[in-house]
Structure formats: C-alpha cells, structure tokens
Point group: C2
Chain length 254, copies 2
Amino acid sequence: MTGRLAIVGIGPGAAELVTPLATETLAAATDLVGYGPYLARVPERPGQKRHASDNREELARAREALALAVLGRNVAVVSSGDPGVFAMASAMFEAIETGLEAWKSIEVTVVPGVSAMFAAAAKAGAPLGHDFCVISLSDNLKPWELVERRLAAAAQAGFVMALYNPISRARPWQLGRALDRLRAALPAATPVIFGRAAGRPDERIETVRLDEARPDMADMATCIIVGSTETRLIERQDRAPLVYTPRYSRESSR
Amino acid sequence: MTGRLAIVGIGPGAAELVTPLATETLAAATDLVGYGPYLARVPERPGQKRHASDNREELARAREALALAVLGRNVAVVSSGDPGVFAMASAMFEAIETGLEAWKSIEVTVVPGVSAMFAAAAKAGAPLGHDFCVISLSDNLKPWELVERRLAAAAQAGFVMALYNPISRARPWQLGRALDRLRAALPAATPVIFGRAAGRPDERIETVRLDEARPDMADMATCIIVGSTETRLIERQDRAPLVYTPRYSRESSR
C-alpha cells in the first residue's frame, strides 16, 4: 500500500503567514520530516511522528520521506518559505528521479507558501515591483563563475535581484565578491535591502546604498534585495524610507 | 486624523491559500478597494464599504485608497497573488510619491501572499528550483525591445523564467514574438508550463516542449514557466509528468 507525500511551505516564519492549506496538510500527516528548527514551528499533535534532520542533508531527508511514504504513511515534508524556491521541493524530485522505481508511484503534492523574499520586500515597500531575478549565492552545487555571470547578466539587463543563501560559515567570501561584482555594474546609490528574518521576533530590515553594503550586514537568515537603476526611495519623517520599483520602465533598449 | 492603509495579497485564488494575516487585515478594514473580481473573493462583512474598480485603473484605484485613508479610514487594498509582484503595491507607492504630501504620513503596510507563479510551479513540480527570472510580457509601461532583451539575457545566462501578463485582447502578438525569441535561444525540447488559474476550479496546467508552445495556450489568467537547459521531466504511468529544475547546475561559465 502506497502512501502520500506533501511538500509543505510554512512561509517565512510568522504563524500568521502559514496558509490554511499548509496547516491542514500538516495536521493530517502521520509523519513530519524536516530540518529541526522548521519542525519546531509546527504545532505538536498526539500520535504524529517527527523526523528531524540537519540543514545540509536535503537529499537524505528526501529519501527518508519517500521510504516512509512507500510504506503507506501520510508524510509531510516541512519546508520554509515556498518549497519550490531554494527549499525542499527540488531535492524531493531529484530523490524521486534517481531513486527506487516504486517511489515514482507515490502521490506527491506541493503546497506553495509565502517566500522569504516576498516577506522582506513587503517590509521595505515594493522593491520587486518590476522584472526581477532570484539567485542563490551558494556555490555548493554550482560553480562560482556561474553565479558571477548571472549577477552580471541580471545587472546588465536591468533586473532587480533577490539573493538567497548570501553567507554562511562554510561560504564566508562569496557575498563580498558578489557585492564587488554588482558595484562594477550598477550605480553607487542603488538601494540594497538586507531583509533578515522578516516577520519574526528577530526581524531586521535595513536599506543601504550599494557602495555602503557590507557582507557583515547579512547572515544565513537574510534575503538581500538589490534594486535596479529604476528603484526609488520615498523619504518620510521619523520612519524608514519606502523602497519601490515602479511598474513602468524609462530604460530603452541598449 | 490619519488612517491606515494595508496592501493585502489574497494569493492565487483558492481560499485555502489566503494567509491568516490577510484574512484578519481584510476583516478589520472599514473600506476595501480593488479590482471587482478580487473583491468578490473576500467574504462580505456588515458595515464594510467596497470600492470596486476596473482592472486597468491601478493608479486611480491607489489614489482613491489614499484619499480614504487620509480621512481616517482603515483601508485594505485587495491584490491577487503577492501584492509586490506585478500587482498593487508598486502602484500604491507610485501614487504616494507623486501625490499629496499628507499621503506620505499614512501608515502603510504590505501583507505578502502566495504568488501565481508559485501556485503554478507547485502543480507542475518544482520548475523554479534553481535561479530564475520573473518578467512581465506587458509593454504597456515599458518598451517591447526591453522585454525581448531581458528574455534573451535570461536564456543566455541559464535562468528559468516565469512570464506574467502573457496575452490579452489589447496585446495579442507579444507572446508569439516572445516564444520565437526564446526558440532562437533555447533547445526545442525545453519544457514550457502553461499554468492557468492554479488552485481554482477552472485550473489548467499543461506542459509542452518549447517548439510546440503556442500563444493560444495562454490567456490573461495564465502564468507561463519556461525551463532552462537543466530543467527535467520525470515521466510517470497514468499521470502528468513532474517538472523540476535541479538544485545543482552542470553548466559551466561560458
């Protein structure tokens, strides 16, 4: 008897941003699989089993979830943000494709969620209001040269950028190099938003100029949004400025 | 006495994807402002006023909302998807920047939501599982040449793409030109997902090869996701294939 598997996005952290579909799916599961701190955000439920794992173990975690589902369990894989954006969904499908044939007949659903970049953008204004790119700065699974090439292409084409996985103990120098690359391509006054833990008690949202952006303004919980030449600041009395990218573009084809 | 204004994302359409924060914010408002069909998704509440407008009237709608808030009303502007992604947030900030000085002192918040592209991606698998771009095909507010330049830059740099506003009665030829541009830059077998009304009763999710993609597969309610050369299909018996983009990239710097 084959079970079911849902990959569930629980959003950026605040309980009030967990969708009803995510809440219901998590409540109906017999087994929850995920990174420990994300599992800790899900309310306890009697009889439900929890399988916590370390952050770096995406593929092992995915296989564990599939092994449970194929035995007839109703498994929910807990993912932060939206599970399709640098989270668990892609690892799950990689495990299905490269794994046991029986895993392909498991009923798999993805429950979308509010992403960290949307939560950070909302706190700052509407910096993602026009065409934008989403780039992971991690070079664990792709060559660093490709990251730099994409940053340059995005800047050159006038995209706003949301940067995921900016820095960690194992990747200390990459963000500095990325900021240098961006400074070579964009005006010094380009707004850069460091959006940390948006909507959580330890939230910190900071907007600086590109020439003032430093790697130590970010940590693992930060999503960085880099404006385009069209991104604007609305200064306000006694409040943080609002940052938005207009719907129109004055840029012509270069 | 100055009121408050919230720009609220109600997600892609299904009630089960409206966050609790959106539900509470809408319930607490004295006035709801928005495009008629989006307002119709919000439960009626006695004493609450509704100000419905046409779809093309973003800036006029934004000014109406600000004029109400400055009089002390508690206004919620209803937006589909995430309000920061080709929706109402950017228009609101444009109206604030270009409008009355008093509007700048209104307390403005943005309530993020699940975007249409996340809902469409979730139904297909995890096509946005790696670096991606989000591009509006509308040339109402930017030159068409810029759209083509961004499509070419995104394809060249190996980004997956989510395409918003693909086609309408007023913009009948743009999608065909965009697909031709992409065919010139990407392999014929590149997966293209036409994700229409994901999560709603009239949902239709269709995955085709780029060389088979036609403009009549889309309408105004469609978000199109174009894979990269790394995007993969998992074929399954008696079910639609799963589409995902791996977390790793085998592509080197070109």
